[in-house]
């Protein structure tokens, strides 16, 4: 007897379109493996940390479009020094913060991403990378007012960047500004635009763009931007974490991409690695493989399943919760249509980015490649048979 045989419609998070979208997900428009020339990249620049002394005050009337300062409602007993303000890039989000309304923006509304501190040798004017904004992005940053206990707080520099797609072109627009947490004033430091070109794509809908950062420094940089597919398709690509060879790390911080600058140098190179879990196309379980609800038996049999990813685990837990809530009548073993059982497969993908130049190279060479950094992990789930596979336009991007 199959205890779950009477399951009618267990909605499993958007994974059923995997089979349909597999073809597109696997399509490889990329030139990964081909030599990507530095001169093929469009130019531009990304804002860098300001070298000028920070202002002690920014008037409340000073504003910069695209940057919003909002103060949440604090309990009256909250000390002044702990009353931070949040900087966001959406007016809606700012309103939510002001209203203590939580965060309910949809994923694709994360219109721009922020960073607010330099992790790369801040203040050292001899270091070419001293003024690099951290590539670890966030959807909002917080600033605290200056106080006796925290004199370094107060006016702070904030970097905002946004991936813009228009007329078939992709560019990264950045705004750097001083923000005064006391007055909520915002003073523009500078704007910059970096045009990007698609250099590779891979399984899971991930796309890699690159552009030449033509900042006024001796060291030249290539800016790589690794973009997750939008909206529902992101179910197949989990959070991205990146690390450059020198230990500088980044993550997408809820944004839809990771940006990683790599320095161009002669007779040497720089590399970075990005890892992200990818959900792979589903596999149906052969009908002659008797299903069971005994999880330990499953684990013993299938090996890999014991190490299901958090993504897959959450799916399984969701099913269990739903089952627990079902009336017994709906779990009748006499139900005519059995559930469809399948494996949710996931694996950690590794994206390698690199730029290098040997003595014989006419110009720096770019490299983008993809690989796996772990074993496949499998979680068995049950789908309702009547649920047709669905795919959105984003799924097949």
């Amino acid at each position: 007897m199959r205890p779950l045989a009477s399951l009618r419609r267990t909605r499993v998070v958007a994974t059923t379109f995997c089979a349909l979208s597999a073809l597109c997900a696997f399509s490889h428009s990329a030139r990964a493996g081909d030599a990507l020339a530095y001169s093929d990249l469009p130019g531009g620049r990304i804002g860098t940390m300001p070298t000028s002394k920070k202002p002690s005050f920014v008037g409340g009337h000073e504003k910069v479009p695209g940057l919003f300062v909002a103060a949440p409602k604090f309990p009256p007993e909250t000390p002044w020094a702990q009353r931070h303000v949040s900087v966001v890039t959406s007016e809606t989000r700012a309103a939510q913060i002001r209203d203590n309304d939580g965060f309910n923006a949809k994923e694709d509304e994360a219109s721009a991403c922020l960073s607010d501190s330099a992790l790369m040798g801040q203040g050292d004017d001899g270091d070419a990378e001293a003024h690099e904004w951290t590539p670890a992005l966030a959807e909002q940053v917080n600033l605290w007012p200056a106080s006796k206990s925290n004199e370094s707080a107060g006016v702070g520099a904030v970097h905002s960047e946004k991936l813009v797609r228009a007329n078939g072109h992709v560019k990264l627009e950045s705004i750097d500004a001083w923000i005064d947490p006391s007055t909520h004033g915002v003073r523009l430091i500078g704007r910059a635009t970096l045009s990007l070109v698609k250099v590779a794509s891979a399984i899971g809908g991930v796309v890699v763009y690159a552009g030449r950062d033509e900042r006024a420094e001796v060291t030249r940089y290539v800016q790589f931007v690794v973009v997750r597919p939008a909206t529902q398709a992101t179910a197949r690509l989990g959070p991205m974490q990146a690390m450059r060879q020198d230990g500088i790390s980044a993550h997408d911080g809820g944004c839809a991409y990771v940006r990683m600058p790599l320095a161009v140098s002669s007779n040497d190179g720089d590399t970075a690695v990005i890892v992200a879990p990818v959900e792979l196309p589903s596999r149906r379980i052969p009908s002659n493989e008797a299903p069971t609800t005994d999880e330990s038996a499953h684990d013993a049999k299938r090996g890999d399943a014991a190490n299901a990813t958090s993504m897959a685990s959450s799916v399984a837990k969701s099913i269990k919760r739903r089952l627990a809530k079902r009336p017994a009548s709906q779990l009748s073993p006499l139900s005519p249509v059995p559930p469809v059982e399948r494996d949710v497969r996931s694996r950690e993908m590794q994206i390698h980015l690199g730029v290098s130049r040997s003595a014989q190279d006419q110009e720096p060479q770019l490299s983008v490649s993809f690989g796996w950094s772990g074993r496949e992990k499998v979680q068995r789930v049950f789908d309702e048979p009547s649920a047709p596979p669905t795919a959105t336009s984003e799924d097949t991007d």
């Binding site: 597999a22 696997f26 490889h28 990329a30 990964a32 493996g33 081909d34 030599a35 040798g121 050292d124 001899g126 270091d127 891979a202 399984i203 974490q241 990146a242 690390m243 060879q245 020198d246 230990g247 790390s249 007779n267 040497d268 190179g269 720089d270 590399t271 690695v273 990005i274 890892v275 792979l280 196309p281 596999r283 190490n307 497969r345 950690e348 993908m349 590794q350 390698h352 690199g354 730029v355 290098s356 040997s358 003595a359 014989q360 190279d361 060479q365 770019l366 490299s367 490649s369 993809f370 690989g371 796996w372 950094s373 772990g374 074993r375 496949e376």
Partner: protein, 676 residues
């Protein structure tokens, strides 16, 4: 002097060349005509074409080489265990012919004119064969002598010349591409292995199994000088820290360079912390122009001032895979490829306790797939081919794919016509072929890698099972029974030699010891002589490596292999000097043979020779055997002496007496030691 040494060597090796030295420059020994050849040709000249046409010409030898012979696509395989050259149909994978060699082949190379060159490592010869028919054994054209243990063959453009590395002989020899007359021979550091020649034919690059270097040899200059490129690991964050400190000091020092000098010394010392080894393979291709790839392993032997629980710091990874990228034009390694950064995301082990992607700790062969610009590296231990992005400055971080092949993958070639990888695995004598595919990320379940393994017909004289099993166990990287951190016996003892590294151990700093040819009559074992049998010594070694240990039958097999592993052939070079050295060695005045006595040159006892290191637990050391001592530097238990001459001079009064010897006598004593 160099020339006279070359002549001396050549005279000894090639009897036919006696007297050549007297003829001055350019008078190199002529190739020796072998009369005992199994398939001797009537024409014993080395020149002349043959029917083999190389497939996917790479300019470098391997344990297998692809060719077209009479319309058939074949793989020539240097079968070390069979002491034969196998001809295998590349498409049906059926063995077509077998050419007995009566010696152990290292590499095979199909020249552009169709001649098939084979290095015979235990016969010290470069053999030239001629192919007539794919189904027939090859016939011998000629052979030329080489220094001890010839291994790799590489060709300059258009096969104008061939270079051959000699592992134990520590030499690179260049032969004329047609006549195979020796053009020159140059001395190299320990254990040279693979070689490639630059695109302009002016420079040879040579890897070394030990010693943390890559040799760069000038092929066109008058002196044929060899220089070394360091392949030691570097920490990019540490380098950045030193740069920052240097800038700060430069600002503050106001002309005082003392502190800057101190900082330089500190940085140099830090730079020596990560030696490398396992430099068995090199690869280059015009598809990734100007770059040479050297798979290797970066080592952290631990703090020599401390006494860790095992070999190396128990809290740090001791060995990690690496692929050094050599900038051919700059003759330097790209520092990105030598990174030892432990923060690398690809090195994360926290997500899966089963360590899903074992590292390639025993790389053995490499080649480039020009179509995808992938570097293909074969790895002992987990017996796989790993594909890396060859356009990266640090290919290790850009792994694309793996294919599991037969045990002991010692050679790889790319069948460019069918875009397949072809791998020879010596331990189970299989030929594996697999489609290389593209650069896209492949879902293994949707597109499983199709590796076809074909076992060659059994050997005429089967290997003893114990020996065969022992060899597999010796190279078992990633085997928790041997070591918890993935190290294999071959990690510290590549090819049964030693890694030339001084490790932090529970007893103090200790040099790894060479095993091949040195263990049968040299009990007790370990530097302190506290293990009376190899079995107990191995058990203790596994314990120090946090390995779970082997079953007794496996341990027996490992002992069998270690006791019987191939021993390098020692060549006597300057007999008068050797005789004089022997006289000194056995003299009461020098007193060497007092402790280094008997057949194995050891009395088996412990002595205090004043060599206690600050972190040594004890100052007593067991007299080491002197068998093969000439090729095992640096010397002493802590590797304090980089040359034998230095050892002989500086240990005066503590370990025999040498103060009374002049430079000539010291050289004679060293020459004698190198014959043991």
């Amino acid at each position: 002097m160099i020339r006279s040494r070359i002549c001396g060597i050549s005279m000894i090796i090639a009897g036919a060349a006696a007297g050549a030295c007297a003829h001055g420059p350019g008078a190199f020994p002529r190739p020796r005509a072998e009369t005992a050849a199994i398939h001797a040709a009537s024409d014993l000249s080395c020149e002349g074409a043959s029917n083999a046409e190389p497939l996917g010409h790479t300019g470098a030898g391997a344990t297998l080489a692809l060719a077209r012979v009479g319309g058939r696509r074949v793989a020539y395989v240097a079968d070390e265990d069979g002491k034969t050259l196998l001809t295998v149909d590349l498409d049906s994978r059926a063995q077509l012919a077998e050419t007995p060699l009566a010696a152990t082949p290292s590499q095979v190379y199909v020249a552009l004119d169709g001649r098939v060159l084979v290095t015979l490592r235990d016969k010290n010869e470069l053999l030239v064969l001629r192919a007539t028919d794919a189904n027939a054994p090859l016939t011998k054209r000629c052979s030329v002598p080489t220094p001890a243990e010839p291994i790799a063959i590489a060709a300059s453009p258009k096969d104008a010349s061939f270079v051959v590395t000699s592992g134990w002989g520590q030499r690179l020899t260049e032969y004329d591409g047609r006549s195979l007359l020796v053009r020159f021979e140059t001395r190299l550091p320990r254990e040279p292995r693979s070689a490639v020649v630059s695109e302009d034919g002016k420079t040879a690059f040579v890897s070394h199994a030990v010693g943390s270097v890559l040799s760069v040899v000038d092929l066109v200059g008058a002196k044929h000088e060899a220089s070394q490129v360091s392949l030691r690991g570097q920490d990019p964050r540490e380098r950045k820290m030193f740069e920052t400190r240097r800038r700060e000091l430069a600002k503050d020092s106001a002309g005082d360079t003392t502190r800057l000098d101190d900082l330089d010394a500190e940085q140099r010392k830090a730079g020596e912390r990560h030696p490398s080894c396992q430099g068995f393979a090199l690869a280059k291709s015009s598809s990734v122009s100007g770059r040479i790839f050297a798979p290797q392993v970066l080592v952290d032997p631990g703090d020599l001032e401390g006494r860790p629980d095992g070999y190396g710091d128990e809290n740090e990874p001791t060995e990690s895979a690496a692929v050094a990228v050599i900038d051919e034009g700059a003759k330097a390694a790209m520092t990105a490829s030598l990174s030892v950064s432990r923060l690398n995301l690809t090195g994360r082990r926290g997500n899966d306790a089963r360590d899903p992607r074992p590292e390639c700790l025993l790389p053995r062969a490499a080649t480039i797939d020009a179509k995808t610009k992938s570097l293909l590296v074969t790895c002992y231990g987990f017996d796989a081919v790993v594909a890396y992005d060859a356009t990266s400055a640090n290919p290790l971080t850009s792994e694309r794919r793996r294919w599991t092949v037969g045990a002991g993958p010692s050679g790889i070639a790319v069948d460019s016509e069918k875009h397949r990888g072809v791998v020879w695995s010596q331990f189970d004598r299989t030929l594996s072929t697999f489609p290389l595919g593209g650069t896209e990320l492949v879902d293994d379940k949707v597109s499983p890698s199709l590796v076809q393994k074909t076992v060659m017909p059994p050997l005429r004289e089967k290997l003893a099972a114990e020996y065969a099993l022992g060899r597999i166990l010796f190279h078992a990287a990633g085997d928790a029974r041997i070591a918890s951190d993935g190290r294999a016996c071959a990690s510290c003892h590549p090819d049964g030699r030693d890694d030339a590294i001084t490790w932090a151990t529970p007893e103090g700093p200790r040099r790894s010891m060479m095993l091949a040819g040195r263990v049968t009559r040299s009990a007790p074992y370990s530097w302190n002589g506290n293990e009376s049998t190899l079995h107990s010594h191995l058990g203790n070694t596994f314990d120090r490596l946090s390995g779970r240990g082997l079953r007794s039958i496996e341990l027996d097999s490992l002992v069998t292999y270690i006791s019987q592993m191939p021993t390098p052939a020692v060549l006597s070079r300057d007999q008068p000097s050797v005789d004089r050295g022997k006289q000194i060695f056995t003299s009461n005045e020098a007193g060497c043979s007092g402790c280094h006595s008997g057949e194995s040159y050891t009395d088996g006892k412990n002595h205090d020779v004043g060599s206690k290191h600050s972190s040594d637990r004890d100052g007593q050391f067991n007299t080491p055997t002197l068998h093969l001592v000439g090729g095992t530097g640096p010397w002493f238990h802590d590797g304090r002496y980089s040359t034998l001459g230095e050892l002989l001079r500086k240990s005066d009064g503590k370990m025999g007496k040498t103060a009374h010897l002049d430079a000539g006598d010291i050289n004679a004593l060293e020459a004698f030691l190198r014959t043991l």
